[in-house]
Assembly symmetry: D2
Homo-oligomer: 142 residues x 4
């Protein structure tokens, strides 16, 4: 089963309409990605920047929202590696209300691998590419 | 020319990589939408919910990011009505660094019209549909 | 020992100066308060509003920051009930870097008990007052 | 009259209780401070860090909230220089609902002047000290 990060919706994440302010989901997805790096890749996300000087800025994102989340809901965010390109990595996200079988949000982000010192697009170093590709294998969608 | 909301990137909007944290752009787009309602439709966005009991939750979003924004950049967010469906309204967004001819972010959000009391999808009331359709006409993309 | 909520500093919580944007700590404190309610009082914070129609808006806050937090730090936020007044409850907060003996932030918030339907200050209902007072007892600072 | 920054409360700034989530006010205060630097001191806040390598982290903050703000309210945040110490600068903030004579929030932040390259407390450079002291004079509270 794909990695899931368990998050709680917070008092301050709710908007004037009484549901989660949708830009917050993109934040939740990033939080889940940070957890995914530590738990599945064995790399603390902050070392990616601080030690390896690699950034992963988003160049394309897409999400479908079928049902809203409310305050008090527990949320599980699934993270997958969907594709490893020359300089790009695509992450897939699905957000479930805890206990639900059907996702309420399905999305993906295309990121590019960036040399943080020169702020230029690069191919991910071999050790990082292998970590991503291993995830593709594990999920049988290489 | 389409409506543009002038925003400033704030100290707290920058992430660990030194550029704007991308979920913030979805927030900027919503801020620009609130300004668009007041300036172009003549409806304060908060009255939509408070007075008319109508919500516009996002059901689909999509964005392409070609260049990052840094702290100190001034940003202009263009808002357009791209499509008025039966119960949906699609808003288009483009984000420019002030003075640039080429947008750095291009995106759109599909929203649905919601009866906030019953939390059910509805057709927008006639007065609101007309306001949206007038925007389509003005922009010659009906 | 007083309750502590373990939080992680997120990529998006860092500001242009490379440290946690200080308004985020007030958010962390609220997140820790929500955890405190569930873990120590046995009341999910969202039911306070949704079921009991009670709010706890802040009327006074004060914090001292002695050392900053960086991305990658794990943070523990301690929550205490410091005082139960007629209509007010004062919560104390201390933020530690995981493993540190000395807190980096020490603060407190005075909140008032609010009837959410009439938006008026009230005395907390007896069951809630008892839960707060039990915390005072436990911490030997009644 | 002291400098005021006009801000709008945004859809996403409202919490589950229907009022502005109070950590957002600390963000509003910082936004107003950024505007104050540009408008009154003639220094863009981002150049402070990017060009002059000076940071102003908060070491103490204090705020009193007497009435809440709702979505749709326009807010004016007044910024004053209250004190210039050896290495510290204290900024005073008051938040008004537009048109009100009485502030709804009154607070202040003590900041210290930091050399961003060595991350050490310093005396503000003479040009910056003079700008702050001129504000004290203008406000007759030196």
């Amino acid at each position: 089963m794909a990695f899931r990060s368990k998050l709680k919706i917070r008092f301050g994440d709710i908007d004037r309409a009484g549901i989660v302010y949708y830009p917050r989901f993109l934040h939740y997805f990033h939080v889940a990605l940070e957890e995914f790096f530590a738990a599945e890749l064995g790399v603390e996300y902050h070392t990616l920047i601080d030690t390896h000087r690699i950034g992963l800025p988003t160049v394309h994102l897409e999400s479908d929202f079928s049902r809203p989340f409310s305050y008090g809901d527990n949320i599980e965010v699934e993270v997958r590696v969907l594709k490893v390109g020359g300089t790009s990595i695509t992450f897939g996200y699905r957000a479930f209300k805890e206990g639900d079988a059907v996702a309420r949000i399905v999305g993906h982000n295309v990121t590019v691998c960036l040399d943080m010192d020169r702020f230029q697009k690069i191919q991910p170093p071999q050790w990082l590419r292998q970590l991503f590709e291993k995830q593709l294998d594990l999920m049988g969608n290489k």
